[in-house]
Structure formats: C-alpha cells, structure tokens
C-alpha cells in the first residue's frame, strides 16, 4: 500500500465506493439477465407444448 498520507481516508473511500457501485450494477444486471433468460425459456417451452 502506497503512503497516502493525510488523504488516505479520502482516496480509499473513493475507491471503495466506486468499486462497490460498479460491482452492485454488475450483480444486478447479471442476476436480472439470468432470471429473464430462464423465465423466457419457461414461457416459450410452455407455449410450444400447449400449441
């Protein structure tokens, strides 16, 4: 860890918050994508077997 001096809190907080927000966005996007893919497959499968 480089010597951040008196600004250590500021710099670390910036990195922590930014990375956390990016990860949150990624997680939400990936989870939603998976869920939607599964749901669509289910609905399409159901319609094929009914129709």
């Amino acid at each position: 860890m480089p010597d951040l001096g008196k600004y250590a809190q500021a710099v670390l907080a910036s990195y922590a918050v930014s990375i956390a927000l990016i990860i949150a966005l990624l997680v939400v996007s990936i989870l939603r994508a998976r869920k939607m893919k599964a749901q669509l497959n289910e609905v399409e499968g159901r319609i094929k077997s009914n129709g």
Binding site: A8, A10, V11, S14, Y15, S18, I30, A33, M36, V43
Partner: protein, 243 residues
Amino acid sequence: MGSIWEYANPKKFIATTDRLLPWVSGLALLALVGGLVWGFFFTPDDYKQGSTVKIIYLHVPSALMAINAWMMMLVASLIWIVRRHHVSALAARAAAPIGATMTLIALITGAIWGQPMWGTWWEWDPRLTSFLILFLFYLGYMALWSAIENDDTAADLTSILCLVGSVFALLSRYAVNFWNQGLHQGASLSMDKEENVADVFYYPLLLSIAGFILLFIALVFLRTQTEIRARRMRALLARERMS
C-alpha cells in the same frame, strides 16, 4: 457482413452479443484492473493535491461515461424515432441505469476529491452541480419507462423526453456556469481534467478510461439482451392470455 442495421433484428442482436460479450468483458476487466492498479500503486503524488490525485482514475472516466451514456441514449432514441428499431429503444433503456451509476460515481468521487480543498463535503461547483442535474434527468427518464405499461408508447415518450432533456441539460450547463461565476467566486475549483495532466498520470488514466468504456459496452450488451427477452416474454404472455 451486411449493414449494421441487421443487428436491429432482436435475435441477431442477441446472437452477436452472446459471441462478443466474453471478449468485451474480459478486455474491460483487464483494462479496468490494469488502469486502476497502475494508477493507485505505481504513480507518484501530485505536488499540490497529494495522494488525492489518485482519484482521477475513477472520477474522470466515470464523468466521461456519464455524459457519453446520455449521448448514446440520445442517438438510440433518434434511431427509434426515425427507423422504429425496437432494439434501439431497448438499448437506450438499458443504458440509463449504467449512466446513472456513472454519474453517481462521478458525483461521489468529485465531492470526496474536493473535500480536502474546500473543507466541506459539497460545494455547488459548476461542474459537480451540472452532474447533479444530469443525475436527475437520468432518474426521470428511468421513472418514465417504468411508469408506462405499453412498450411502444413507453419507447415513444421516453425518446421524446430524451431529446427535450438533452436540450435542457445543455442549457442547464450554461445556466449553472453563469450562476456560480457571478458574485461568489470562492468555489471555482480547478479540477482540470486533461489540461495539466502529466504523462506519468496520463497513461494509466487512458487505460482506466478504456476500461470504463468497455465496461459500459459490455453492460449495454447484457442489459439490452435482458430487455429484448423481457419484451418478448410480455408479448408471449399477452398472446397467451388472449387465446
């Protein structure tokens, strides 16, 4: 390879982005980690700003993407209005939360960066204030999409909102600059982005910017796929209900 309009076909878009996504994501990860690690661990402190200069590797790329995301939404909205390609409208919808998150990162890192110099956690500095207003525009745009049930109506209304909003966002930028240069000089902060960035900071910054751009592209691909699937599912369910 036909024209780019082939990818306006939802199925083709999903197929193509499925192939591209691993590469774009991988590159994004490399560039992001590379740029941030390089910047954080291997660059010196700034003469004036101390170690807070390390915040540029987050603040500048996110601020750039906050603006670029909105511009992409504007272009996508125009394509929807003119050529009625659903993928375009859905891509705009997909990009909005990414842009909003970028704006939020820009705001938070901007405020934290300024605190040692301002002494306060927030100053109504023209640049930061403009980003705050942009954040509100993002929120309104996303809220309108969520509020309207009919997909085509939502696409039409949000694209018009994006157009009008873009004009007003520009107007606000000018107004805010005017507003904070009049009587109270104090808070003009020189967070000069590219003007005085020395070489030693410049290359890791470029890498970070590349990382953010690739991250944006990867997320837009992923989220647009989700929107396409969601729309198809709504259509199928509606048809099912009617039969």
